[in-house]
């Protein structure tokens, strides 16, 4: 897991998972957009989401935000980018999304991403591995917060000096003048 690119991908998964869980867990009062009531562009969006997840269902979060088709399309485009195979596999990304959903007590997200992990081939042992990591680090984080520990392991990994995608490397830093 060296280099920053995989960490940017992981952060995207954490962020968009949280965003989708917010809608799925708390927006029920808005009501879901059903296919029969949806305009053509929303039906097309739902078809794309079904194809991505190889499922006859559309995750509730997207039905709940589809009251604004343009907004839903943009959120889906970001979600598809975040969850698709890239440097990190879709399998690992679903494990991250499952861990985040469990940590934030999102029943909808936990059930959905557990299903996705299984669909992508993660077995019972693998599921329990992610449960174990999630539970143990939920403990460590609370111990650290209670004792207000300061981060002291930041230098354990090397700095990635590569530029942003499509960018140019940073200019070399000026050398300090040598002692006479």
């Amino acid at each position: 897991m060296t280099g920053d690119a995989v960490w940017y991908e992981a952060a995207q998964v954490v962020g968009i998972t949280n965003a989708l869980n917010v809608a799925a867990d708390a927006l029920g009062a808005l009501g879901m957009v059903e296919d029969a009531d949806a305009p053509p562009e929303t039906r097309a969006l739902f078809a794309e989401i079904r194809a991505f997840y190889e499922s006859p269902d559309v995750p509730p979060a997207f039905r709940l935000i589809a009251h604004d088709p343009g907004y839903a399309a943009d959120v889906w485009a970001a979600a598809r980018r975040a969850y698709a195979d890239n440097r990190l596999s879709r399998r690992v990304k679903e494990a991250l999304a499952f861990a985040v959903s469990l940590t934030t007590r999102s029943e909808t997200g936990t059930a959905f991403h557990l299903g996705e992990m299984r669909r992508l081939g993660v077995g019972p042992r693998g599921v329990m591995e992610i449960v174990g990591v999630t539970q143990m680090f939920s403990s460590y984080t609370k111990i650290a917060d209670t004792l207000q520990l300061e981060a002291d392991m930041g230098d354990i990994a090397p700095v990635d000096w590569s530029p942003a995608p499509g960018g140019t490397p940073p200019p070399p830093k000026p050398r300090a003048p040598e002692a006479p």
Binding site: L96, A99, V100, F137, T141, E150, D152
Partner: protein, 84 residues
Amino acid sequence: MPTVRLRDAAEYPPGAQRLFELSKAWFNHDFGQPPAMSRVMAWDPEFGGPHGRAMKRAMSQGEFTRAEKEMVAAAVSGASACEY
């Protein structure tokens, strides 16, 4: 600033020194002092011992690699808004 005074490794009894050696091996990194969390967990070996074993069992190579699990741990920490 931490709520407690974190003791230097030298202030711990010999049994804890063994835990610090295991911690150093686990991270494969030579810390000046053991990480704060290692020193916290070494305070009470009857808690820190089994907690640490559960963590190592969860983090060991299985269906997911240790690196993938470190990323999951970072995601859990991020979702918990924990700076440590």
